[in-house]
Symmetry: C2
Subunit: 110 residues, 2 copies
DNA sequence: ATCAAATATACAAATATTCATATATTTGAG
DNA sequence: CTCAAATATATGAATATTTGTATATTTGAT
């Protein structure tokens, strides 16, 4: 229906489009983490973490390493950290714009 | 349920997670375009373009300018172009990795 | 005032995602 | 071998997104 490449890119962004998956990825920027680590850091149940990790895995956004019964996850591409950082800048701009707009609405007497 | 900021970021990435919306954004990197321009360039019907533009608008990813009966769309933040470019690099890495993997599968005789 | 062009919105069926709950699988320790 | 810890998967109901079709709105020209 669409070009495969665009479909592929859309899948990638869709994979980033979930709050818990974003928090997981932010954790992984700092270095690899086991499922238990993530579970503890995020305060969510094991199944939820595994479910979301599975999605990131199938989209090739994260990679794994097994050690005993633990599975350690890490970002597949360091550029992803840059991408998330760049996204943060965009959000900041956006928030600043929104603030400025609200400010103007509040102070304009027309 | 989740932190508002993470929810907000997720909304942003979700907005990018659609093939047609990605193609639209790629067009807009080159400069502002009217709905008709986009419709012609992408070969899709008017309604679909407007629908997807509406989503990009509500997520504050694009801005508009009216001129007569035409509405011109442009990226709200130039950083978005950088983000899409960075994403492209990540996809390329991924595709190269996948190719290398297939190559190895094909040439290994174990 | 009327018309046509350009754009936006409404609606609903099809499809996909989310998320909680339950169950499986894998691995190392004893 | 048995058990417990760690992780993964299955299932399904609730919710959200997609997408085609129809209709509405806005604007400039005549």
């Amino acid at each position: 229906m669409y070009q495969p490449l665009h479909q592929f890119k859309a899948e990638f962004f869709k994979a980033l489009g979930h709050p818990l998956r974003l928090v997981i990825l932010e954790q992984l920027i700092a270095g690899e983490k086991s499922v238990t680590d993530l579970q503890a850091a995020l305060g969510v149940d094991q199944s939820s973490v595994s479910q979301q990790l599975a999605i990131l895995r199938t989209r090739n956004i994260v990679e794994t390493r097994k050690d005993g019964t633990s599975v350690f996850y890490r970002l597949r591409d360091p550029l992803l950290a840059e991408l998330l950082e760049l996204a943060r800048s965009i959000f900041n701009n956006h928030l600043i714009d929104t603030q400025a707009m609200l400010q103007q609405l509040a102070t304009t007497d027309t």
